[in-house]
C-alpha cells in the first residue's frame, strides 16, 4: 500500500504565551481547522524569553492549512500583533494524507 500525499502549508508561529487566547480565536475565525501548541522559550529582537515565569514564556503554534488560509493568517497576525509583540512566523510546504482535514473554512 502506498497512500497518496497532498501538498499543504504548515504555518509555524512563535510568540509570547500571553497572546494564546487571542491567537486561538483568530485562527478559528480565519478558517483553520486545528492547531498544535508546544511550550517554548527563546531569544530574539525582544530579548531573552527564558520561560522562567509567565511573563517570559513563549508558545510555538503550528497550523496545517491550505495556502489561502496560511496567507490570511500571516497577514492578519502581522497587521495586528507584530508591531507590539515578540512574534516570528514561517511557512513550510508539507505533504499530508487527508488534505480535506486541512482546508480553509469547513465544508
Amino acid at each position: 500500500m502506498n497512500l497518496p500525499l497532498s501538498l499543504r502549508r504548515l504555518l509555524t508561529i512563535i510568540c509570547e504565551a500571553s497572546l494564546e487566547p487571542e491567537l486561538v480565536r483568530e485562527l478559528a475565525r480565519l478558517g483553520a481547522r486545528g492547531y498544535t501548541i508546544t511550550e517554548a522559550r527563546g531569544q530574539g529582537a525582544h530579548g531573552l524569553r527564558d520561560g522562567s515565569w509567565g511573563a517570559s514564556a513563549n508558545i510555538r503554534v503550528e497550523v496545517l492549512c491550505d495556502e489561502l488560509t496560511a496567507e490570511a493568517i500571516v497577514d492578519t497576525l502581522h497587521a495586528g500583533y507584530s508591531a507590539n509583540y515578540g512574534m516570528v512566523m514561517f511557512v513550510t510546504d508539507v505533504a499530508v494524507l487527508r488534505p480535506d482535514k486541512f482546508r480553509g473554512a469547513p465544508g
Binding site: L48, S52, G54
Partner: protein
C-alpha cells in the same frame, strides 16, 4: 536581627542567577508556588473576615481604594514629563505601581509575625481590592481620548485573572468555611506557607537576575523612580492607616501595599490592554528594582514609619 531570614532565599536566587548557575526552578514550579501563595493568603484573609462584620470594612475599603488611585495619578505625569516616557509606557508603569505585589505583602506579614507584632487580619481583603483599580486607571491614562480601548478584555483579564480568582476565591472559601472548616487544611495552607514563600523568593531571585539586562534599558531615571515611588507610597499608606485608626502592624501592611508594585496581575493585564507599552521598562522597574528594594529596605522602613508616625493624624 534587622531582616527576615526568608529574604536570604531571594538573595541566594539572585546570586545564583548572577553567577549563571544551572539552578533553575522550572516555570511550572513558579506557577504552582504562586497558585499556592495566592490561595493561602486568600484563605487566611477569609478566615479572618469570618470573624468580622463585613459591612464594617466597607468604609475603610472605600478610603483605601480612593487614596490608592492617587498613586498612578501622581506617577503618570512624573513618568511622562520628567521621565520623557511615551504615554503608553508612563501609563503602564503607573498602573504597575498603583497595583500591589502579593509576595511583598507576604514578606511584610512574615516580618510582623516574626516580631510578634499584631495586625488586622482582614488587610488581605484590601490586597484583593487594590489589585484592579490602578490597572483600570492606567489604561484610562494610556487611552485618554482614544476610542478603541479594549475595556472588556481588560476587565476580563483582571477579574478572571488568576490573582483575583485565587485571592477572591480563597477569601470566599475561608469566609464560608470559617476557622473550623479550614482547620483540616491548615497543615498545607498555613504551616507550609513560610517554607513555600522561601522557595518562591528563591525563584524570584533567579527571575530578577535574568531581568537585570532590562534594567539597563530602563535607565537612570526609572531606577530612581523605582526607589522613590515606593517610599512615597509607603508614607501615604502609613498616613491613610492613621486616618483609619489601624494598628501599627496594619499601618505597616497598608504602607507595603501602597509601596509595592505588581508583577503578576499588572504585566498580564497591560500586555493585553496597552500592548504598545514596552514590558521591559515596567517589569524592569517593578521587579528588578522595587521588589528587591522593598524586601531588603522598604519593609523595615515602613515598619519604622508606622511605629514613629502612629497617631499623628
Amino acid at each position: 536581627m534587622p531582616f527576615e531570614p526568608v529574604i536570604l532565599f531571594f538573595v541566594l536566587g539572585l546570586v545564583a542567577g548572577i553567577v549563571r548557575s544551572d539552578l533553575k526552578l522550572p516555570g511550572v514550579v513558579y506557577e504552582a508556588l504562586s497558585i499556592f501563595l495566592l490561595l493561602a493568603i486568600g484563605l487566611k484573609g477569609g478566615v479572618e473576615l469570618s470573624r468580622h462584620n463585613v459591612a464594617d470594612l466597607a468604609l475603610p475599603a472605600l478610603v483605601i481604594v480612593a487614596v490608592a488611585l492617587l498613586i498612578p495619578l501622581a506617577a503618570f505625569p512624573v513618568l511622562q514629563r520628567l521621565g520623557r516616557l511615551p504615554r503608553a509606557d508612563a501609563a503602564s508603569i503607573a498602573a504597575h505601581y498603583g497595583s500591589v505585589s502579593v509576595v511583598t505583602f507576604a514578606v511584610a506579614s512574615s516580618y510582623l509575625a516574626s516580631r510578634g507584632e499584631p495586625a488586622e487580619g482582614y488587610m488581605v481583603v484590601f490586597l484583593a481590592l487594590l489589585e484592579l483599580p490602578a490597572l483600570v486607571m492606567g489604561v484610562a491614562l494610556a487611552r485618554r481620548g482614544a476610542a478603541d480601548t479594549r475595556w472588556g478584555k481588560l476587565f476580563h483579564e483582571v477579574l478572571a485573572g488568576k490573582s483575583i480568582v485565587l485571592l477572591g476565591g480563597g477569601l470566599l472559601i475561608g469566609w464560608l468555611a470559617g476557622p473550623e472548616g479550614i482547620q483540616p487544611l491548615d497543615r498545607v495552607f498555613f504551616d507550609l506557607f513560610k517554607g513555600m514563600l522561601a522557595f518562591f523568593l528563591l525563584e524570584m531571585g533567579l527571575v530578577v537576575a535574568g531581568r537585570l539586562a532590562d534594567l539597563r534599558r530602563a535607565g537612570v531615571f526609572l531606577a530612581v523612580f523605582a526607589v522613590l515611588m515606593p517610599l512615597a507610597g509607603g508614607l501615604l499608606g502609613v498616613l491613610t492607616a492613621n486616618l483609619l485608626d489601624f494598628s501599627v502592624g496594619g499601618a505597616m501592611l497598608l504602607a507595603t501595599l501602597y509601596a509595592s508594585a505588581s508583577y503578576i496581575a499588572a504585566p498580564a493585564a497591560m500586555r493585553i490592554a496597552v500592548p504598545e507599552a514596552n514590558p521591559a521598562l515596567s517589569i524592569g522597574a517593578s521587579l528588578g528594582i522595587t521588589f528587591p528594594f522593598n524586601l531588603l529596605v522598604g519593609v523595615p522602613t515602613y515598619h519604622w514609619l508606622a511605629s514613629h508616625l502612629a497617631g499623628v493624624i
